[in-house]
């Protein structure tokens, strides 16, 4: 029972919450192209400047936008930020330390009499800076993904002249993902009800069975999907009506001021 609860939490706590939050965000009415552009510019500035203060500014402002303006629960936002943190921990530790057969570096410890782990003040600082830089980049990305549904992001990509075929595949994949998740949870429950996950070996077997079944069932439906498209005069070009979301002058001014402030921070703390 406990195990089941955990699994449930995992699936709903992190897997697709981004999609859900994006639809619920108050910032959904903002122009999608603007959000994408603003997010990517901020992200690039954050990485290119490689400056602690710039990173902090990006973290706070993007967090403010997503939470205060977008209306996302702060607790949910922090939970979302924890998702990439595992890589962050691994990655930054790996960058901060080094291994050596000889005692080198500013600080070092002898590990299990086999090798030395060493680090330095500079490497720690670098790793610390990297943590904030990465968090800044992630929060800029989140400002976009937590306020803009994927379908709108795809529409922006289409306007950016990404090949039609890719856009079409993306649109379909996005839709099919949710149909598959539905099918999968039904199959999994049925496997679970027959004790398909009682130990590691059976789990592997059941996982494989369910996964392959998922693909087979979906492929069998593939033809029906295409029929349904053609029945509505589909001619090789997925066209949908998009909601007009006008750009607001205030938002542009806000974005420009923020970017200028970032550059000023970078200039004065260089």
């Amino acid at each position: 029972m406990k195990e089941k609860k955990k699994r449930f939490k995992h699936e709903h706590g992190s897997s697709f919450s981004v999609d859900y939050y994006a639809y619920a965000s108050h910032m959904r009415s903002w122009n999608a192209g603007f959000k994408v552009l603003f997010s990517i510019i901020s992200l690039l500035i954050c990485i290119a400047c490689n400056n602690l203060f710039v990173s902090l500014a990006v973290i706070f402002f993007m967090g403010f936008l997503t939470v205060a303006v977008g209306g996302l629960d702060l607790h949910h936002y922090i939970t979302m930020l924890l998702v990439p943190i595992v890589f962050l921990i691994f990655g930054t530790i790996a960058i901060a330390i080094g291994f050596s057969m000889r005692p080198v570096g500013q600080y070092h410890v002898h590990f299990l009499n086999l090798f030395y782990i060493y680090w330095s003040k500079a490497s720690l600082l670098k790793a610390g800076g990297l943590v904030f830089k990465a968090l800044g980049a992630v929060s800029a990305l989140y400002m976009m993904t937590l306020t803009t549904p994927l379908s709108e992001i795809i529409a922006v990509l289409r306007k950016a002249h990404i090949p039609k075929l890719i856009i079409e595949l993306m649109n379909m994949i996005y839709r099919y993902i949710f149909i598959m998740i539905d099918t999968h949870s039904r199959m999994k429950n049925s496997a679970e009800s027959r004790l398909g996950y009682c130990d590691f070996k059976t789990s592997c077997y059941s996982f494989g069975q369910v996964a392959s079944n998922l693909l087979v069932v979906s492929l069998k439906r593939g033809n029906n999907y295409y029929n349904a498209l053609e029945a509505r005069c589909y001619d090789g070009d997925l066209r949908f009506l998009e909601e007009e979301k006008p750009l607001k002058a205030g938002q542009i001014v806000m974005a420009v001021i923020f970017i200028v402030v970032l550059l000023l921070i970078w200039f004065f703390t260089r």
């Binding site: 999609d19 859900y20 639809y23 959904r28 549904p149 994927l150 379908s151 649109n171 379909m172 996005y174 839709r175 949710f178 149909i179 539905d182 439906r221 029906n224 999907y225 029929n227 349904a228 498209l229 053609e230 029945a231 509505r232 005069c233 589909y234 001619d235 997925l238 066209r239 949908f240 009506l241 998009e242 909601e243």
Partner: protein, 278 residues
């Protein structure tokens, strides 16, 4: 009525899948404006294949289809798709877009209508199906009944002349099934031409004006509901049962409770009217 030109005229239609499985084996049918047709027949009898053929998705190997007197060839195939709409059995198979508005706009957009026209059609269709409030929502957060309504709005927005429903009540809960029947009634009252395939003989009996029975890729009966359900051999061949009202009437008749007048009641209301005088 019968002298009028049919909207759709199907002549000796044959269709085989991959040259192996024969799905349609010589189908002739005329569909006239404003008809409410129920299509009966067991699974695999050829109903869905027939629908895809008269919508122009599948191309028959033998036989012709005429739309308003004009023979359908590769050139005017889109006329058929435009004017014959299918609401598929599983809404998930049909819905492709990621918001309800985008989804309903897909058909009209493919018709290359001006944007203004698309918007007005989408709004009208959403209102008709009573789902205007879901406009910006993604289909994956809608319930089964709501998805079904979206899939119907899809076709309404295309303003097709003939609307086909492929087993519309399958997988719907009683409440949604009732909602659906209300919509079908409303569309029928507006004089729309509709074909509905179903396994629910009670529904077919009370709703339809004409019943077609498919069996092994052929039409084995095409008449009024009353006439079809009276032919025992047809029912047996297609594995169909009598509608409930039919049996109830027969029992009452046998017991001599109601007069033997061959006026089978269509629904509960008619039945009530009949027993009221007793």
């Amino acid at each position: 009525m019968q002298e009028k030109e049919p909207i759709l005229k199907v002549e000796d239609l044959h269709f085989t899948y991959n040259g192996e499985k024969t799905a349609l084996n010589g189908v002739d049918l005329n569909i006239y404006e404003g008809e409410k047709i129920a299509v009966l027949g067991s699974n695999g009898a050829g109903k869905s294949t027939f629908f895809l053929n008269i919508n122009g998705v599948l191309k028959s190997h033998h036989g012709d289809i005429y739309y308003r007197g004009e023979k359908i060839t590769k050139k005017n195939l889109n006329d058929l798709r435009k004017n014959v709409g299918i609401v598929f059995q599983d809404a998930d198979n049909q819905i492709i877009a990621s918001t309800v508005m985008a989804e309903v706009s897909f058909g009209p957009m493919n018709l290359k209508l001006p944007k203004k026209e698309v918007i007005s059609r989408v709004d009208k269709a959403l209102e008709y199906m009573n789902i205007s409030e879901f406009k910006d929502r993604p289909p994956h957060y809608l319930s089964g009944g709501e998805k079904k309504r979206v899939s119907i709005a899809d076709i309404i927005a295309m303003e097709s002349e003939v609307i086909i429903f492929d087993e519309p009540t399958a997988a719907l809960d009683p409440l949604n099934a009732a909602m659906l029947e209300e919509v079908l009634q409303k569309m029928g009252d507006e004089g729309r031409t509709m074909l509905i395939s179903t396994h629910d003989v009670d529904f077919a009996y009370r709703w339809a004006e004409r019943v077609i029975v498919f069996c092994h890729g052929k039409i084995i009966a095409d008449d009024t509901p009353l006439a079809v359900f009276k032919q025992e051999d047809i029912l047996k061949q297609a594995n169909l049962k009598h509608p409930m009202m039919f049996d109830v009437y027969d029992i009452l008749k046998e017991k001599g409770i109601v007069p033997d007048g061959d006026v089978y009641p269509k629904n509960i209301a008619e039945f009530q009217a009949m027993v009221k005088g007793l």
